[in-house]
Symmetry: C2
Subunit: 227 residues, 2 copies
């Protein structure tokens, strides 16, 4: 994605920056579901007028992370379990396509980044805000792995869907289970690295699918929300 959206104009850079910032805040639950984002307030924070802010908010609405109501405000959307499961199902099927559609050779620097992130998983439990830290690492790992997707259209879709479900971790995960989940994540990254360094990268999609499937099961086991 960042390859496609090659930063061009000044305005585009600003947009991307604010867009990614707000998206991250939503996904990390800095803005919890139901929270209101005031345009004026954001405009002040980013030292801009409402106009460019509105463009970002509109985009986030299209992506399903915001709901803008005339005269009322822009509200972070709620998570609904049926929707989460639906999107997860789709992500699982799409994962298989990673192997089929133009898989990319992992670079050494990618493997190195993954290894760094894997080690960081060990420190999640001792972090000041474990759940948030876990969500952060989840985000970073995802961004790494997306480099393996050669089909740009697929990549864009996977990204969109990821950000639609990524909130579930800090939202649903009980504080007591964070360390267990972190350990699982650590081993998952390890498996990915082993596969990638053994030149089996064209079956990475399969592995990723497995990880998603297991995550989906754990998700379904968590407390029911939404409809």
């Amino acid at each position: 994605m960042s390859d496609v959206t090659s930063v061009s104009s000044e305005a585009e850079q600003r947009f991307q920056s604010i867009y990614q910032t707000l998206r991250t805040r939503i996904v990390l639950l800095d803005y919890v579901p139901g929270a209101r984002l005031a345009e004026e307030q954001l405009a002040e924070e980013f030292k801009l007028s409402r106009t460019p802010i509105r463009r970002v908010l509109n985009r986030l609405e299209v992506e399903g992370l915001l709901e803008i109501r005339h005269g009322a405000g822009s509200f972070v959307t709620e998570l609904s379990m049926p929707e989460l499961l639906e999107v997860f199902e789709l992500r699982m099927e799409l994962a298989r396509l990673i192997d089929v559609l133009a898989p990319r050779t992992p670079t050494p620097v990618l493997v190195e980044r993954l290894t760094t992130l894997q080690h960081a998983c060990l420190d999640i439990a001792s972090h000041s805000h474990p759940k948030r830290r876990f969500a952060e690492l989840n985000l970073e790992v995802f961004n790494c792995l997306m480099e393996l997707v050669g089909n740009q259209a697929l990549r864009q879709i996977l990204e969109q869907l990821f950000y639609r479900t990524a909130r579930m971790w800090p939202y649903l995960l009980a504080e007591v289970h964070v360390s267990k989940e972190a350990a699982l994540f650590h081993s998952e990254i390890g498996e990915s690295i082993r596969l990638l360094t053994n030149n089996n990268y064209p079956s990475f999609g399969h592995l990723y699918r497995c990880h998603l499937a297991m995550a989906c099961q754990r998700l379904a086991a968590m407390q029911t929300i939404g409809v």
Copy 2:
């Protein structure tokens, strides 16, 4: 999609109307690749200011149909053969998922609409503008078929990808081949109807995939464009 985007506010209705209008114009080549869309001009046409028009243009840019350049204008994107093939490949794989993820039972009214559209295919050749007519019917048939997709996330994605490739028909198809292509389309719709009325709808995705695959082959056989 039209179920999800349940028309709400006045502004949202206006947006949807203009958005779909412009998208259709691009897909039907009323706006050819490379053409410039002036905000001021569109604002005049729709009796609005530039502000809501810009929202529409931004959305079309995200969908890959426009490229907006500061100080220069908003230009309809060019078609590139590699991108078309890439998106087609993805659409083919996604088609299979229609059967897996919440397939919907076809309603009698849907079958009736399809039958009407099928008959309309016979009149394409004698139409005043055959290629455009063909593209129109292609659009309408697609909208019908999307009713069979129960997974909303999948539906949204299929729609997005469709509009990214739908332009190829009026763009690449030679005038002499329109009647041949129309006949093929006629029989494809026929096959779909037969399948749907035989209560075999859970395998509709497979059939759709076959149709896409054949279309993709014909596409590849057409004159090379882009890179």
